[in-house]
Symmetry: D2
Subunit: 262 residues, 4 copies
């Protein structure tokens, strides 16, 4: 089973990048499933129902979120009607929506899980390790092919989480820092891993935003508007090939797809 996962889509440039990237990725990788982290799709802050549908129409199978999940308030009710949009599993019990789903296609079944880290992160959530363990045990009854988006800041927490799930899931892919790491690997028990996939959007930027205002803030602490960048659109992602019988990863390959500037 071939899966492509795209890192955080940032704003309009990110969405355009994704739109252009998907057909190219289809012909390059023939993915059975496409998963996208959409937590910054709406102007950098969360996602809207409209953008959700736009992504689904592009052929995205599942959209994961992160600390920006509720930035657009209407998502709180919308997520209850759209199971392909996932908020982190380790939000408090009773949180609207779900953090996992099993999607089917081409006679294949992929479980997708969205979890969020706690080190250097807000909001303060429940233990991601313990929550993931419980949910993954359930999902494994349905399919051995499981992809986990671990949306977190600290490398130690992310690697520990990946190692914790080694042999339990097909892949743990990190998001949130918006910088792709060069540590993609397959762990000893068969779980593909990367600390961070990167992001989809304008890369002449500070993680998707215009450079000058960010430098202004760091040097003055004065108020300034952080606007989204537009130059050097690139789609960062990861390709994973999974053995369908065992759920073990056979291959992991980093994607950095530069696109003609808008």
């Amino acid at each position: 089973m071939k899966v492509v996962f795209f890192g955080d889509v940032v704003g309009e440039t990110g969405r355009e990048t994704l739109r252009e990237a998907i057909p190219k990725i289809r012909s390059l990788y023939q993915p059975d499933f496409i998963v996208v982290n959409g937590e910054n799709a709406a102007g950098g802050n969360g996602i809207t129902p409209k953008i959700t549908y736009e992504f689904l129409r592009l052929g995205v199978d599942v959209i994961t979120l992160g600390d920006h999940a509720w930035d657009q308030k209407e998502i709180v009710s919308f997520i209850q009607d759209e199971p392909r949009l996932l908020r982190p599993i380790n939000y408090p019990p009773g949180t609207p929506g779900e953090g996992h789903i099993i999607v089917k296609g081409n006679a294949k079944k992929l479980a997708v899980v969205c979890a969020i880290g706690r080190t250097f992160m807000l909001p303060q959530t429940e233990n991601p390790f313990l929550t993931a363990k419980k949910i993954i045990a359930e999902l494994k009854k349905e399919t051995p092919c499981i992809l986990v988006d671990f949306h977190a800041e600290a490398t130690s927490e992310k690697i520990a989480f990946g190692r914790f799930l080694d042999g339990e899931v097909s892949a743990v892919v990190g998001t949130h820092t918006h910088v792709q790491t060069a540590d993609e690997t397959i762990f000893p028990k068969g779980t593909a891993y990367i600390t961070d996939v990167g992001f989809c959007g304008a890369h002449d930027s500070v993680i998707g935003r215009e450079i000058a205002p960010i430098i202004y803030r760091y040097t003055t602490l004065l108020p300034t508007k952080f606007i989204l960048a537009t130059e050097n659109p690139r789609a960062d992602g990861i390709f994973i090939d999974i053995d369908e019988e065992s759920g073990k990863a056979k291959k992991i390959e980093r994607i950095q797809l530069s696109l003609p500037s808008s």
Copy 2:
């Protein structure tokens, strides 16, 4: 001018890795200067005078530090006698030692600067942007070839810092997260940049330490001893080629040198 910089050397395995890596790197890259971040060289915690001399004997020209600078208390006085050992420039005024140096060799001059970030970091230091700006202005009177180790956690702060110094220095290389990023680039005004170089040490680990105790801590919060890992030694570094006239970077190349396990 060719420069190789190695990321945080972690413990005995890291030191052994460095020892084996340097001759190989010499024949591969013919570096004029070798710079190493040594903040975790002594059992993961800081550096000792003995290890400092060991590194210098290996041909290391400058050693940078980070948040672990003072883990070994004797370093506080030792650093005043050994100018090739750098603590962050943005420690408070009056701090022992220096955070910058100009080294010479092969009729070439390289300035090296060690700075530390503030986002999600302890200890709480002075503004790295403003401090770096002042010091770099001085160093530029001596040489246009300047390498900055920015030891920091958050990708946004690191990229902003790199962009802030674009055109002012030859290279900004990130350390501290112990995970190499895949975003090495040369910025428009000629500064080579990478968010994190990675680390030298055992890579079957959580950033250099044994996996099991770290997972135990994340899942139980109970006390446990974090011991250093030993398997899969690898030296993570970066190669930078600098135009000596202009100080602009001509090339940046990531290094991941796997070595036979001890």
Copy 3:
């Protein structure tokens, strides 16, 4: 029902302070129960079995802990045998020991709960609000008289927690900052509340430790040993009078009992 609660006992001076304070407090307040936060009793770091027994022999009924719960490693197994020593309820499921107990005496029953906050706090624990709600619902079947020690840093989290439990418990008393607040009150539905009770120990200090090394650290960031202070011993606590039928608080009174210096 009369209850006296003492804030964090810090080191030897704190223990001596408690020893001298208890008889005085007995004659002043005739408490039915005495509860003490003991998280800093062993040299500032955690508590030992020996100190636990010492406190129980002094007539302490229940000892609560906080973020320093496991500083002394032997406590992890000891706590399973000593139900009067409480670690926070919102530690991960499976944590040794308990975070609540019902104690009896003088034909009275008091439930004591130990919870820990998350804002600006380590370690990262489960949601204290949701965990407390569940446990308190159980305890209320046994007794309406419930005292909660909320060990937390941020005033907003502490007040929100107190308001959240207003009418559900007899008292919410804050600990951890080691500074007594002047906001003791009884909330509209009958819960006595104070943001922080303060600490027992040497008050010519920075929250129990010698002043000079702390200032040295803040001004230099250099390594230094934080030693416990000894001057100006004072026991900070809170007296609460509870209506046994309803569990509602009738009175809350701050205690600052200065003792002759050792």
Copy 4:
């Protein structure tokens, strides 16, 4: 010299509270100077020029700010024209406005300093200890009577800062947590100290804001609007009597002035 300092004025209720409190305080304490922390005066977020003038018209001599200094953007330019409005001294060099002033009245001179802490605080500022030391040395040439508002979160940093300035200034009064502490004292070398003065505004609240939305956030992490509370207006402050010759504090007294509900 008699000085009254009021803690953070929160929103409209806070301003009304201050308006009613000032005449009462005048007749109770006959202050020579009134200083107010105004960082939350404009709907909880910063201060406006209009509110600044309103406070000055009420007889306030100096207004201090804190982490909310720039919430209202127009303040960045306004502060350069109004020296009685102080932003923290340890904002980066080049920041608009000043963090200290000497005010005169009744043939008396009071220096007021506004500083901000770093532990658990944003934004990340320069070292408050070192910055304060330098500025206070200058101010002492003009007057020994110096009042410092230390706007900070952690009790250890606040007490260390107060002790650091003991004998150097007349008073260090803490703000930011919005909860008055019960540790007002005069340190051995004559500096009056309190960890936190509290706030002016609606006290049936979570530090000035409506209770229900805050609890909702802590229990669900879902988006909600934090609205300002209106019930139980109270002005929290501190009275300090200073010996004009020596600058040493003779008296410190906590103020909690409850006012008829609006």
